[in-house]
């Protein structure tokens, strides 16, 4: 009963409202982008870019610039680098991701050692700290997150067409290369936004688990998309609420909830 009173009291705090709003926008964008990533068989690009972004965060902290902005810049460069390596035949998709991951993360380590060590702020980017999101971060998350969701909504049918059959989409005059690049930039933006919420290490869970759970339900594409968004949002809000009440790591509870949903949907599929 006391916990319930605590929850209601939490809604009155600005920090909690910021966390719920920011978290919901991020969960929505992650679930939608993540579903396309799973279907394009590129889920690991999420993990690769998140680790590369770590270099950008370290750079931002070192230079005294908002780390989200430097992480965004580095992630976009990583996406372009991966696309370039694939296009030029320098490396296969997974190898290109591995190269970028290693370069980005090691850059971060060098910057940290130059700065004189590991500090608390950097730690919060590794494991997320949605409950400490400030107004500036919320504005950045809202603008970029809502822009991502809008672009996905506008090019939804073209992205679906390319994901299902790229050659056919090209034949129909859909600008496949331009849209692929746009989608990869959206992936970079979504990942950087998620780092503040869930941290570099666990970003991939927020991208993959809601989509994977939705796929267990065997629905149409529309149904699967809505289910993924629903699962992502429920995992996020449940995680924020429980972590605030019981004072445990938010990112851990979010991933745990998402993994629980996946388990239930997998059982549902087996029983169906």
């Amino acid at each position: 009963m006391n916990e319930l009173v605590d929850v209601f009291r939490l809604f009155g705090f600005q920090f909690f409202q910021n966390a719920l709003l920011g978290g919901t926008i991020v969960a929505l964008a992650c679930a939608w982008v993540g579903l396309f990533l799973i279907l394009r068989k590129e889920a690991m690009i999420g993990d690769g870019i998140a680790h590369t972004a770590f270099g950008g965060i370290a750079l931002g902290l070192f230079l005294g610039i908002n780390p989200i902005l430097t992480a965004l810049l580095v992630s976009i460069l990583a996406v372009l680098g991966i696309s370039y390596m694939r296009k030029r035949g320098l490396a296969q998709s997974d190898s290109a991701i591995a190269v970028m991951l290693a370069v980005g993360f090691s850059t971060g380590l060098i910057i940290i050692s130059l700065a004189g060590g590991f500090n608390v702020e950097l730690f919060s980017f590794l494991f997320g700290s949605i409950l400490t999101i400030d107004q500036t971060d919320l504005i950045i998350v809202s603008i970029l997150g809502i822009s991502t969701i809008l672009i996905l909504g506008i090019f939804y049918k073209e992205l679906l067409s390319m994901t299902f059959d790229e050659e056919d989409a090209r034949l129909m005059g859909i600008p496949v290369r331009l849209l692929s690049l746009t989608f990869n930039l959206l992936v970079a933006i979504t990942i950087v936004l998620s780092i503040k919420v869930i941290g570099v290490i666990l970003v991939v869970a927020l991208l993959v688990l809601p989509g994977l759970s939705a796929l267990q339900l065997n629905r149409s594409f529309k149904g699967t998309t809505l289910a993924a968004i629903g699962f992502g949002t429920v995992s996020m809000t449940t995680g924020i609420l429980l972590s605030a009440v019981y004072n445990v790591a938010t990112s851990g509870v979010i991933v745990f909830t998402a993994a629980g949903i996946f388990l239930f949907t997998a059982i549902y599929r087996k029983l169906e």
Partner: protein, 260 residues
Amino acid sequence: MQEKIPVLEVSDLHVARSNSVVIEDANFTIHQGDYVGIVGPNGGGKTTLLLAILNILPKTRGTIRLFGQDIESFSRWEKVAYVPQHAVNFDPHFPLAVRELVSLGRVNRGNLGRPLKRKDWESVDEALEFMGISDIANRRIGQLSGGQKQRVFVAKALVRKPEIILLDEPIVGVDAGTQEKFYKKLSDLNVAKGITIMLVTHDLTAVFCRMSKVMCMNRWVNTAEITEDLKPNEVLRKAYGEHFHFVFHEHECKRVFEDE
């Protein structure tokens, strides 16, 4: 006699893949309303020809004209539909309902970034009905049988309201009865809607019983009108080799039409 309108004109066509010549000196014209069976041994260049017509594979020499326009500058691709060989080999876990898949046929450069309109969905439902698959419109594509998959992909091609459809071995791995129904649907399309059809197949009976033209390929292309005077063995032996003898049973053709 009404003059036939050329839809596809190919002259002096040469195509190479991985530095080896696949098509050599191909010359032919396909007219509006033709129903063409493309036959020949494996590796004879059948799929390559379709890909060259679609400007997916570059040609090394010659010209291809679609609806009177060189394919290099051709822009009205909505008039052309293609059902590739691999179309039915999709990921069975892909979360897509039949109606959603068919609606992808309406997605093109013309409506980029805009949602499909009511008339697009009406075309989808019309194509589903024409192919006799309205009852499975909401079924997931991974749950379809081989025959249903083919009809769904033809519906997807049809929903573009094309004037020519190119199909690459669409009936591989299905039973004879399903194949027959599929050919019947294609004949209906050809006759009722006047759509020009070019079909790559190994089913020689279907070609000689159903279609108006046969195109034999083995690097070169030999096209012949299918008439009562045509001697299939003469046409086919050039492609498959002199030691082959093709036996056609007249009753097979009769059965095809009696079933209808």
